[in-house]
Amino acid sequence: MDSYLLIPFLPLAAFFINIIFGRTLIKDKAHWVSILAVFGSWVVSMMAVAEVLQGKTVNADLYTWITSGGFKVSVGFLIDQLTSVMLVVVTTCSTLIHIYSAGYMHGDKGYYRFFSYLSLFTFSMLMLVTANNFLQLYFGWEAVGLCSYFLIGFWYEKKSASDAGKKAFIVNRFGDFGFGIGVIMIFLTFGTLHYIPIFGAVNGMVGQTVDFLGMQVDLPTLIALLLFCGAVGKSAQIPLHVWLPDAMEGPTPVSALIHAATMVTAGVFMVARCNPIFSLSPVAMDVVAIVGAVTALFAATIGLVQNDIKRIIAYSTVSQLGYMFLACGVGAYGAGIFHLYTHAFFKALLFLCAGSVMHAMAGELDLQKMGGLKKYMPWTYLTMFVASLSIAGVPGLAGFFSKDEILWLAYSGPSPVGKLVWAIGTIVAFLTAFYSFRLIFLTFHGKFRGSHEQEHHLHESPKVMTIPLMILCVGAIASGWVGIPSLLGGGAHFTEFMKPVLGHLEGHGTHAEEWMVMAISVVAGLSGIGLAAFVYLREGDLAATVTQKFRFVHQVLWNKYYVDELYDFIIVRPTIWIAKNVIVGVTDGKIIEGIVNGVPELIGRFSLWLRSIQTGMVHQYAAVMAIGAFVVIAMVLLW
């Protein structure tokens, strides 16, 4: 147990060392501290995983954090099957991305700051996944959000970057508000915040209703939906998805680590962790499934037409996260986590490849200015191609197994919305394959469309960047092999492994049906690739013609369904209006002045006499105080 403490605290130590000594002593050696620390926690994590594989789970309290009366919250760690998978994902991706960053961020003036933030993030994320109670989870939840805020705005000189940071922060407030209330509700219901006693007692909740702001609501549904609010914010689901694409303003390794592999999946992790609560409420489950499916479709369609290389991958992330929620919503938590795990590898790889491309293109993001990069950067091309095959669900690669399991369980599971979300999921699989290969073909194939100067500088990235790509590439290929379904002669080890925590959902269907579902999804994926090849590999401007023909659809997709504009119109502008006209009005004393100037006019002939009177602030303050006293007395007397 004690050695497990190293898992989160090594990165924390690295953070402190870098932030304190980084500026003066360590400077451009900062990566060594962080990389060693995170590699250390990777090693310990692997030991932990080995223990868990032998069936030894840990649930231990380090010390009591807060007590009051009979209520106690400890700082403690729960290392079980679910946590160990998350540990693999977080520490592996984090280590590789740390190494990659040493090349990518080389020469940046905030070098040591970047690594200290990255370490702090790793610490927070590890605290989040290893927590054994909701309060510690909440701590990790807020802390990763803060790190994300700082890292998105890392290049604060760029206004767009700091705006994106703010946006991520504000949008997440909405989700976290619900999450916070949900945690309070759990505390009130169970009198504790520790997972094990809560999940042991959930059945007592069945049928209870609670008076929430005047309405009688089913308790499990309420709690589950409140928790899901938090997940929607953190994992960028509809309607709070708007922050993630903008978050791409941050450095690319950040996008890979935080906004693809780890932090954004925290929502899925939390829903899976709370599966005993969610499973009690069919309503909440259906909401999760539908939100996931709709988000998956919605984001995939937007991804079809974008030209910004990172944003396409960001929409792809939103879409794949939707997939994971879809899985959780139909009860296939194991499949959802399986997809989380495989997705982390191929999506981190996609981002890092995009970073590598940007590195070569001097920061260029526009697909239309790329092309033909294949011959300049073979490794990047190769690895990105494999990652795209994996996300497209080509058989044998990681993405195939997890996606297939989700689709099969959605189709065959007991969920009433299962067939619907299966259909949506299959369409999404087609769209995903299409936009992923559109990206590949536009970037690496054809002729180079950028300026001569850019062409002159094209080069493969240094080894420190390409080696992590290759390692992740192995993950994108092989990480799915732990979960080969029995239909294909595998043992479905992954789901079996997760069974103690997440339960096991049996699909009810014949082998024939299972073959059919698999075949449909493979065909969908392959035809997506084929269509992309047909449109973008041939000479000619088929894409432009289609765009021309479906101008309206293209416009809507290009503008991301106008969601940002809608929010701007219904939320941002009214808020600013109120702040400007009401709040500033009060601070500036305009309202007070209005009364001061208004009342004399009513009184007529006195007004001229009064106009000359100077308004002293102190008088105003005293008058406000007196009125306040009057209000309080009136309330006390008349309540």
Binding site: L213, I583, M625, A629
Partner: protein
């Protein structure tokens, strides 16, 4: 009354006597260091003598030295100690005659301590006046235009609030025939509750107290005075003066059971919500650090009132812990402002902090820690405090208030983070950031406060245990 009665008052007397010694000392030997040392020694001795007070000692009907009072007096003394340390370097070179500052500081500490131990309206009022009158002079101490303006504003408004308070006390006395807190509740039930007058009396007392606590709608003075006063004095106003008054408010409304008056409860809830929103929304639009901290303190007192409204055993613990966290954080934040302030003016513009991390990384880290605590980010004392308040509120099913609190914390987070981002940005061109070297004592104090802040955030258990023990009587 016998000599025996005086024994428990020794801590208070030590403070009073030290102020007189310093005054006499100045007549013979003017030295900042000497007066400063005497002050620190006086506060330290007073603090130590607190431990000599055995059991609960009622001294006449006016003061009670129970564990609760001792805890709060200890807190007040500790805060004054920090302010005394911070102010010495600050005042050097700003004006001559620094030494009298310490006399005023000690006496206002005395006033605040008296409040924490009061069980009677007379001691309450005298304590309040000792506190206020010394504050008038302290706020205007360096005598520049802003100081004087702030001092006069505070003088006029505090006098007005005292008038409300006195009128309220008169009404309560007229109704119950006593000014003792403990007999007041029995007086109320004996006389048959004549509600109108009693409630008006409560409301007026609340007005007077609300002014001192700077809760909406009695908060109007706060930003001006915070901005105008010298930075260490601002720290003092924000902590010591509010702490004593809040201790008294809590004691009074526990003895005169507030929950028996639903309308009074409603009025306090209104004040709490109004303070949270007024503080946080107005802070959003501010560009001056001292004013931001002023508005944030308004909001924080609003949060405190939520815990104050909660019933049950959690109430006193929650309030007290939050106050401790608030003290540490506020002293730390104003400590940073004090350290950065040049001779010409205080470092209170947000631009003064731009890129602070580049040339003063330690100070920037400390300031970030303080802001994180104000925002209630986990691992800081502020988070535990807020957690207790939410738990206390939720435990008493004050849902609306808890939701308001959560919303407001979210709003608050935004402006705290805005400052933090500025700290780590590219350095701007501000003359203030070029202060040559930081004084050693101040730096040590700040480091100590930060360590305390994190310690309480990570391992609050011992303090909570202690608070629980000290406040068990309620």
């Amino acid at each position: 009354m016998t000599l025996n009665d005086l024994a428990p008052l020794i801590p208070l007397m030590v403070i009073a006597v030290s102020s007189v010694i310093i005054m006499l000392g100045i007549a013979f030997y003017r030295s900042r260091a000497f007066s400063g040392l005497l002050t620190l020694a006086g506060i330290a001795v007073a603090f130590i003598t607190l431990f000599g007070v055995q059991g609960t000692r009622q001294v006449t009907s006016l003061l009670i030295l129970d564990d609760y009072a001792l805890f709060y007096i200890g807190l007040i003394l500790a805060a004054s100690f920090v302010v005394a340390l911070l102010s010495s370097d600050y005042l050097e070179g700003r004006r001559e005659n620094i030494e009298e500052f310490y006399i005023l500081l000690l006496l206002s500490t005395l006033g605040s301590s008296v409040l924490a131990a009061s069980t009677h309206f007379v001691s309450f009022f005298i304590g309040l006046e000792i506190l206020s009158v010394s504050l008038y002079a302290l706020i205007a101490y360096t005598r520049n235009e802003l100081n004087i303006e702030a001092g006069v504003k505070y003088l006029v408004l505090a006098a007005a609030s005292s008038a409300f308070l006195l009128f309220g006390i008169a009404l309560l006395y007229g109704e119950t025939g006593t000014m003792e807190f403990s007999r007041m509740s029995s007086g109320i039930s004996a006389q048959g509750i004549n509600k109108g007058m009693l409630l008006t009396g409560f409301a007026l007392v609340l007005t007077g107290v609300g002014f001192k606590l700077a809760v909406a709608p009695f908060h109007m003075w706060t930003p001006d005075v915070y901005e105008g006063a010298p930075a260490p004095v601002t720290a003092f106003v924000a902590t010591v003066s509010k702490g004593g008054v809040f201790a008294l408010l809590l004691r009074y409304f526990i003895q005169v059971d507030m929950h028996a008056y639903p309308s009074l409860f409603g009025a306090v809830a209104f004040i709490a919500v109004a303070s949270m929103f007024a503080g946080n929304l107005l802070a959003l639009l501010q560009k001056n650090i001292k004013r931001i901290l002023a508005y944030s303190s308004i909001a924080h007192l609003g949060y405190l009132l939520v815990a104050f409204l909660a019933g049950g055993v959690m109430r006193v613990t929650a309030v007290t812990f939050y106050l401790v966290a608030y003290f540490i954080t506020t002293l730390g934040a104003f400590g940073v402002v004090t350290m950065l302030s040049g001779k010409e003016r205080d470092a209170d513009a947000v631009e003064d902090y731009q890129g602070l991390f580049r040339h003063r990384p330690w100070l920037a880290l400390i300031f970030s820690a303080m802001l994180f605590s104000l925002a209630g980010i986990p691992l800081t004392a502020g988070f535990i405090g807020k957690f207790y308040i939410v738990a206390a509120g939720a435990g008493s099913a004050l849902w609306l208030l808890v939701i308001m609190l959560v919303i407001n914390s979210a709003i608050g987070l935004y402006y705290y983070l805005r400052i933090i981002v500025v700290l780590y940005a590219q350095p701007g061109h501000s003359e203030v950031s070029a202060v040559s070297s930081l004084p050693l004592t101040g730096s040590l104090v700040l480091v100590l406060l930060t360590v305390l802040l994190l310690w309480l955030g990570v391992y609050p258990e011992p303090l909570i245990e202690m608070i629980h023990r000290m406040t068990m009587r309620f």
